[in-house]
């Protein structure tokens, strides 16, 4: 081989140790992290999407969590480092608190809130003037949030504030790190948005507590539990009738297994909104992007065929998000007149 050795880059200056020392350093770091962060490793594993990666992380995380449970170090680390966290503690059991889920037995009351006045030809109650729009959800809410915010900024200038709060990797059916029951209450408390746009559902399908055990996706029991959680969020966002909620259904993903989850999620959203038709608008993205339940990457936009989905077959790209934003914008105009 011609002129080899001199072409190898120079290592940074510093002492040279043995490979064994490298293993000692990495091994020590791993050991300390297991002792101090064992529970976090297990929790993170449980939040991951099903697959080999999750299995591997849990294979380490479960024993690490067990060690963490036995020792007081995890709590000590949380106490020392907790102030660095950019979020409030959003993990928890918000959905499991009383009133979170449907209770069997009693016949639920039907209230006027169950009816959209426009459908009945009645005059709708005027909402508050539009000041703050919250756009939230998981990764699906991006870039919808940006597209909508730019449209609102162009139309309404500084009069309407758009708050974008995507929580990537979260889901309604998992609450280890982010409990949407808790998060939605916090968002409303902080912002009191007149309009809340929710687009969530890329990370669903997790088993949820229900019926005395765990309910697996995606039968009627799972959908009922999911609907109960969504209804609780809708109830929070509608703020006793003061706010309007725009909940987008899921365009079907390309993957067949994910389609099964998306169908259950969409059915649950429709059912969840029933008592609040007066304030909650379910915006049907399924029919817009995947009519007749068939996935497609492209569709006609303004007479030209355009790509509307990301290559992952789950998310909308900018073009698709722009289209979704127009639908949300039209619904906002209907309710708020601007």
């Amino acid at each position: 081989m011609a002129s080899t050795e001199q072409t190898i880059p120079q290592a940074p200056r510093g002492p040279r140790l043995r490979a064994r020392d490298a293993l000692v350093v990495v091994g020590l770091a791993v050991l300390l992290l297991v002792l101090f962060e064992g529970e976090s490793i297990r929790d993170a594993g449980e939040e991951m999407q099903p697959g080999v990666g999750r299995d591997v992380v849990l294979a380490v995380g479960k024993p690490a969590g067990w060690v963490g449970d036995l020792l007081p170090f995890d709590e000590a680390a949380d106490g020392v480092l907790g102030w660095l966290s950019p979020d409030d503690d959003l993990a928890g059991t918000g959905f499991e608190e009383p009133g979170a889920t449907t209770r069997e037995g009693a016949v639920p009351a039907v209230t006027p809130d169950s009816f959209d006045p426009q459908e009945l030809g009645a005059k709708p109650n005027p909402p508050r003037a539009l000041d703050t729009v919250l756009v939230t959800g998981d990764s699906l809410s991006q870039p919808l949030d940006v597209e909508l915010a730019r449209e609102l900024a162009a139309d309404a200038g500084d009069d309407v504030r758009t708050r974008r709060e995507p929580h990537i990797g979260t889901g309604v059916s998992k609450s280890g790190f982010v409990d949407w029951g808790k998060l939605s209450s916090q968002q409303v408390k902080e912002l009191s948005p007149e309009a809340t746009v929710v687009f969530i559902g890329a990370n669903e399908g997790f088993p949820m507590p229900g019926g005395g055990g765990e309910v697996e996706c995606c039968g009627p029991e799972w959908a009922a539990e999911y609907a109960a959680r969504v209804r609780r969020m809708m109830s929070t966002y509608r703020q006793g009738g003061e706010g309007r909620v725009y909940w987008l259904t899921l365009p079907l993903p390309r993957d067949r297994e994910r389609q099964e989850i998306a169908r259950a999620v969409n059915a649950a959203i429709e059912v969840a909104a029933v008592p609040y038709r007066s304030q909650v608008r379910v915006l049907d993205m399924t029919e817009v992007f995947t009519p007749d339940g068939r996935y497609r990457d492209t569709m006609a936009v303004d007479g030209k065929e355009r790509i509307v989905r990301e290559p992952d077959g789950i998310h909308l790209n900018s073009e698709g998000a722009g289209l979704a934003a127009e639908i949300v914008r039209a619904a906002l105009r209907r309710d708020f007149g601007r």
Binding site: T7, V26, V57, V60, A153, P311
Partner: protein, 463 residues
């Protein structure tokens, strides 16, 4: 798989231990490292491994054909065909959408359209990096700087997990010789590697992601909603973010490779202290700029053909360098801006002698202007962003941590380099019993700053 993830935290200690255990037995070590690298690369999408394997085989066939052909014209032809195959792969996966959508839109506006079918093609992670490395292999063989490597070595070179996803762009003649004999287990830069990994994590997770979350993403998302003070802060914050994001990745990659016994070239050297564009490109993404110099600028004629030809070569090199980053007009304009800066600088050399601080201020702000084009991607957004730079209004995003992060990242680069280097070396001299807890402490602290949304991917993953 990304470096700051639980999967990698499990993967790396196992691979490191097995790698050193097998190192003396190269027949076992090489297949093991190849398998580990493909596992790392395929974690996101196993189908991408097929493309990586095909690129490896195609380039090996090309390199062997070049090596066996005595006739210079035929060698040049075979090299050209192999490079063209590489570029075709890049074109299909990276630029097809750009040409069918953006180019079609452009032609449509003047009454012409492209009847090309629209396809959503997933961009394999790291494609631009390993394609460039593959080209470097064939070209080095053609130039006689390297003999064709065994296929297994080439496969390891292209897929080696520390650099497969986002570089640094290690040239074939820098890496392949390191595979000819086992790495010496008594000569491992453990301290330097650990310091780089820790520094990279801090840069990426604690600084870059924080600035993105609190300043850059909100303003670049909807510039119309912000006035001049916030927009100005966002442009400086993006300069700090992209430096910390990319150099943070590179630091981790180089550190991980050092622990495995391999040495990668340096990729960043305080780029924001540059007082000229030329100097900037000797400090920013060094492995890309020397690659473009050696494999594009010099073959185009470099500075050998007079002032106009040099200017043309610089503009072509930098504009294509911009396009390498992605299929968007913002990248093309970013490259063209740097090309124009280099041309202008050459033209003014010897005629205009400005003080160093003024040259620094001009270059730094032009670099920041370039980052606005780079981040905006589409020209509408860049236009909105720039127009808001003169819009009076309140500073809503200025906070002590955000301003401190920007000032620290940029300010540290303006300080004398040697004392900072010395500080790093002093930390690297600590004993393994101190380095281990130190690394764990950094991971725990950095991990505590991760928001509920998890760590976003590195910016350069998409390239």
């Amino acid at each position: 798989m990304v470096f700051p993830s639980l999967e990698f935290a499990i993967f790396f200690p196992l691979v490191l231990a097995i790698s050193w255990a097998l190192m003396p037995r190269q027949r076992l070590w090489k297949p093991f490292v190849l398998a580990a690298s493909y596992l790392f690369y395929g974690a996101a999408n196993p189908r991408f491994c097929v493309l990586l394997a095909l690129v490896t085989l195609a380039n090996q066939v090309g390199a062997l054909a070049v090596h066996r052909t005595p006739d210079e014209r035929r060698r040049r032809l075979v090299t050209g065909v192999t490079v063209a195959v590489n570029l075709a792969v890049l074109a299909v996966f990276k630029y097809y959408g750009f040409f069918t959508e953006d180019f079609d839109r452009l032609l449509d506006s003047i009454g012409l359209g492209l009847p090309l079918p629209l396809l959503t093609i997933a961009l394999p992670i790291g494609l631009s990096f390993y394609i460039f490395q593959a080209i470097s292999y064939v070209v080095d063989v053609k130039r006689g700087l390297l003999e064709p490597a065994p296929t297994l070595d080439l496969a390891i070179y292209l897929s080696f997990f520390p650099h497969v996803v986002a570089g640094p762009i290690v040239r074939a003649r820098e890496f392949l010789p390191q595979l000819t004999s086992p790495r010496d287990p008594r000569d491992v830069a453990v301290g330097a590697g650990v310091v780089l990994i820790a520094l990279g994590l801090v840069k990426k997770v604690a600084i870059a992601d924080y600035l993105a979350r609190t300043v850059v993403d909100p303003v670049f998302g909807v510039p119309e909603a912000y006035a001049a003070p916030d927009v100005a802060l966002a442009s400086y914050a993006y300069a700090a973010q992209i430096y910390c994001d990319f150099s943070g990745y590179t630091d981790i990659a180089i550190g991980v490779a050092l622990l495995m016994g391999f040495v990668f070239p340096q990729n960043f050297r305080a780029p924001y202290r540059a007082t000229s564009f030329r100097e900037f490109w000797r400090r920013w993404h060094i492995t890309l700029s020397r690659y473009l110099r050696d494999l594009l600028y010099i073959p185009l004629g470099g500075s050998r053909g007079g002032r106009l030809a040099t200017a043309r070569n610089l503009m072509i090199t930098m504009t294509l360098g911009g396009l390498w980053h992605g299929a968007a007009w913002g990248f093309v304009l970013w490259g063209a801006l740097h090309g124009a800066g280099l041309v202008l600088e050459r033209g003014l050399r010897g005629r205009f002698d400005a003080p160093a601080w003024l040259r620094w201020a001009v270059v730094f702000h032009l670099v920041c202007l370039g980052w606005i084009l780079f981040r905006s991607r589409d020209l509408d957004l860049a236009g909105s962003f720039l127009s808001r730079l003169v819009e009076p209004g309140p500073a809503t995003l200025w906070s002590v941590p955000a301003v401190a992060a920007v000032v620290t990242v940029i300010g540290l680069q303006l300080l004398p380099e040697r004392p900072l280097e010395r500080l790093r070396e002093r930390v690297a001299e600590l004993s393994p019993l101190a380095l281990g807890p130190g690394l764990a402490g950094v991971i725990a602290v950095v991990g505590a700053t991760v928001p509920s949304q998890a760590v976003p991917p590195f910016i350069y993953f998409q390239f």
